[in-house]
Subunit: 120 residues, 2 copies
């Protein structure tokens, strides 16, 4: 798994990505047309949405039935793990932001310290 050429690591790289997560979570609620997906995943460009959907189709997670994209059975098994990630992100945003502020402030203080030292 931690070996560079292990296919399960490639597989992890494919699913551990924000577009995959958002698309799978949206399609789990209901099949959607291209345009509906495009509107719901705010800020995604057509190109990136097309590329993401093609990749998900290739990996057997999404299929297109006429005009609607829907999860395959394989894709449905992915929903819970990805949903858990999303839930984590929503639950702990604040802690993450506070940690970032503390870290950046500490970095600023270190820079100030260096500047003061240079004044000596």
């Amino acid at each position: 798994m931690f070996s560079a050429k292990c296919p399960s690591r490639a597989s992890l790289a494919r699913i551990a990505n924000k577009w995959t997560a958002m698309i799978v979570i949206l399609l789990h609620e209901q099949p959607l047309r291209f345009g509906e997906l495009h509107r719901q995943v705010d800020g995604i460009t057509k190109k990136v949405l097309v590329d993401s959907l093609r990749a998900l189709e290739r990996d057997g997670m999404v299929e297109k039935d006429d005009v609607h994209y829907r999860l395959t059975p394989l894709g449905r098994t992915l929903h819970d793990p990805l949903r858990a990630l999303q839930t984590w992100a929503e639950s702990y945003v604040d802690d993450v932001q506070q940690a970032q502020e503390r870290y950046d402030e500490a970095a600023d203080n270190r820079l100030l310290g260096v500047a003061e030292a240079n004044l000596d």
Copy 2:
């Protein structure tokens, strides 16, 4: 959450990434030194490992105690969701690979079909 400027989406983007997943899973077993991490995460370069660890420290998920990197309490809450992703990847690699082969073969056949049509 699906809004482009929502901070929880930024947060999701940060944790939904293969290096984050591998590092958090390894550090959950035990604190590790830089060199030990570097050896276990096969194929990662020093630069990328340094960058990833700095980002995780900034986000308050990892802290460095003397020479050992360890998960913070916040980082520990991330383990289960990421572990679930890893488990999924290991469980379904074969299905994904088969889907890819089918998809690529179908694409080849479409190309052949076009070539035949051109012969007419």
